[in-house]
Symmetry: C2
Subunit: 291 residues, 2 copies
C-alpha cells in the first residue's frame, strides 16, 4: 500500500512515499518558492506513483482546519510572501482523486511521535510536540485527536516570566516581542550574542536562560492539558539542553502535579533527523484512507 | 426525573436536586468540616429524594479522575486538612445504587456554562471556565469532553510575564509564589494593599495589574486550546474588570489569531450567583444516567 507525505515548510518541501508500516520507500525535497511552482513540483512527484492510496499534508501556517469552512485546506493569512490564501488541498485534488489529510506541520510531527511511542509499546493517550527552530510551535494529541477548536494552536506565542538576567532583551517576535518564540527561537542567538546558536557552547549562561523559558512552556502545557509526554524537536534542541529544561521544570513545578519520570516526560523525538512529520503523515494518510 | 448535584467546595458544600431541564427543585448548603460528617450530611440530604436517578459531584481537589485507577473517585493529596485520600464516590455508593458522575469543581462549572450556551443557541463546541476567587482554577471542554489526560488541569499555577509596576510583589502561592493564583486570587488584595478586594475601587491601578495577568492566562489558553469562549467566574471577577482584561488581551494578542467578537469571547458566566456548577452537575448526572 502506497501512502504520500508532504511536509510543507516555509523553506523547503519534503515529499515522500511510504507504506502502512510507515517505512519510507522514496523521498525528495525542494525549496519553497511560489505556490504555483512548489505545488506543481509536489503534484509531479506523486504522479510517479500510480498506486498511491492517500496523501497527508503537514503544512506551515496559519492554515484553515475547520472542515465546515469554505477555506478548508487553505494556507490562510501567512507572513510567507505569496502564500496567503493558497488552496493547497484544492490544488492536490485537481490531480489526485484520493483521500487527502490536512493538518499543521507540528500536528504532523506530534502524530508521528504519538504513533512511534505506540510502536515502542509506550502506554500513552496524549502527547505534545514542540519544535524550537527558526520559529516555535507545537501540536497536541489526545486519544488520537488533535487539540484545537476554532483554529489550530499557536503555542509559540505565549508570554512568560522573564529571567532576571535577561530583562534587557526585548525579544524578536515581530508580533509580540518577548513571547516564547521571541525569546528562544534559533535567530535569538544572533540577536542576543551576535553569533549563530551552533557557535554557542552549552556552558554559556544563555542556555540556562532559554531553558527557563522552555521549562515554563512545558509547565504551561502540563497544567493546561496534562499530557502523558512532551517531545521537543527542532534545531535548537539537544539532549544536553533538555537536561537543563527538566531541571528548571522540576524546580518551577515544585511537586505540584505528578508527571511521572521526568526523563520520560520531557524528551527528544523518537524519530531522528526531524523525520517525525513524515511518519505522522503516513499514519494520517492511512487514517484518512480508512475513514 | 430527579437528578442530584453536589458542589463540594473547600469551605462549603452545596447540594441540590433538579430535573432534566436543569431546574433546581431543592437546594441546601453546609460548611465543609470532616469528610465523615460532611459526606454523611450529603448522603442524608439525598436520602430525602426517593426517585433520584443519578448524582453528579464537582469537587475541590486534587482528585483522581482516571477511571482505570484504583483511586478513581477519591480526593487525593489535598492541602485541606483531613481530606487527603478520601473515597468520595465510594462513600456515596455505600448508600446509593445510582450512576455517579465525578469531576472537578471547575469542570462542573465549565459544563454548566457549555450547556447554558447551547440552550441560548450559541454555536460552540468548546469552552474554558476560569474561577478567580480564594484560589484560581479552570476547566475546559471540547466537543462535550473535558480536557486532561494523566490528570485534570491546574491552570491556576502557570507562570506569567510580570507587570513592570508589580515587580516587588512576590505572590502568595505557597507552592509557586508568583504563579497566576499567587498574583490574582482574592487574598492577594490583602497581601498587596492590606485590605479586602471589595474595598478596592476599580480605579485603583492594582486592577490594571491583575487584568494584565488574567489577560495573559486567557492568551495562553487561547494559543494552546483555541476554545470558542472563555468564561470568568468567581468573587474577584466583575464586568468592569473583564473590560480591562479584554483590552489587555487585545493588546497582547496583537491580531495574531482571530477569536471573533472579543465581547462574546471573554465573558461573565451565563448562570448567575456562582450557579454554573449546579447546572453542570444536573447535565452531567443526566449524561451519566444515559450512558
Amino acid at each position: 500500500m502506497l501512502l504520500g507525505s508532504v511536509e510543507a515548510g516555509g523553506t523547503k518541501f519534503v515529499c515522500a512515499v511510504g507504506n502502512e508500516d510507515y517505512r519510507i520507500l522514496d523521498i525528495t525535497n525542494f525549496p519553497t518558492t511560489t505556490p504555483e511552482e512548489t505545488l506543481k513540483k509536489t503534484v509531479d512527484y506523486f504522479k510517479q506513483f500510480k498506486d498511491l492510496q492517500a496523501i497527508s499534508v503537514s503544512s506551515f501556517g496559519p492554515i484553515e482546519l475547520r472542515q465546515n469552512s469554505p477555506k478548508f485546506g487553505y494556507i490562510t493569512d501567512t507572513p510567507k510572501v505569496g502564500w496567503s490564501n493558497t488552496d493547497f488541498v484544492g490544488r492536490l485534488k485537481q490531480d489526485f482523486d484520493l483521500p487527502i489529510h490536512w493538518t499543521t506541520d507540528v500536528n504532523g510531527s506530534a502524530y508521528g511521535e504519538y504513533i512511534m511511542a505506540t510502536l515502542f509499546n509506550e502506554k500513552i493517550n496524549s502527547l505534545v510536540y514542540y519544535t524550537i527552530g527558526t520559529g516555535v510551535g507545537a501540536g497536541a494529541i489526545v486519544n488520537g485527536n488533535f487539540i484545537g477548536d476554532i483554529g489550530h494552536p499557536e503555542m509559540g506565542h505565549v508570554r512568560l516570566k522573564r529571567h532576571p538576567d535577561d530583562l534587557d532583551f526585548k525579544g524578536i517576535c515581530p508580533y509580540h516581542g518577548d513571547c516564547l518564540e521571541g525569546l528562544v527561537s534559533g535567530p535569538t542567538f544572533k540577536a542576543r550574542l551576535g553569533k549563530s546558536g551552533k557557535d554557542v557552547p552549552l556552558t554559556d549562561h544563555v542556555w540556562d536562560i532559554m531553558a527557563f523559558y522552555v521549562a515554563q512552556a512545558a509547565l504551561q502545557v502540563t497544567l493546561m492539558l496534562r499530557p502523558a509526554k512532551i517531545v521537543f524537536g527542532g534545531g535548537v534542541v539537544s539532549e544536553a539542553f533538555l537536561k537543563k529544561v527538566r531541571s528548571q521544570f522540576t524546580e518551577l513545578m515544585n511537586d505540584y502535579v505528578d508527571v511521572g519520570d521526568i526523563d520520560k516526560y520531557i524528551v527528544m523525538p523518537l524519530v531522528k533527523n526531524n523525520g517525525s512529520a513524515t511518519v505522522g503523515n503516513f499514519a494520517l494518510a492511512l487514517k484518512e484512507f480508512n475513514k
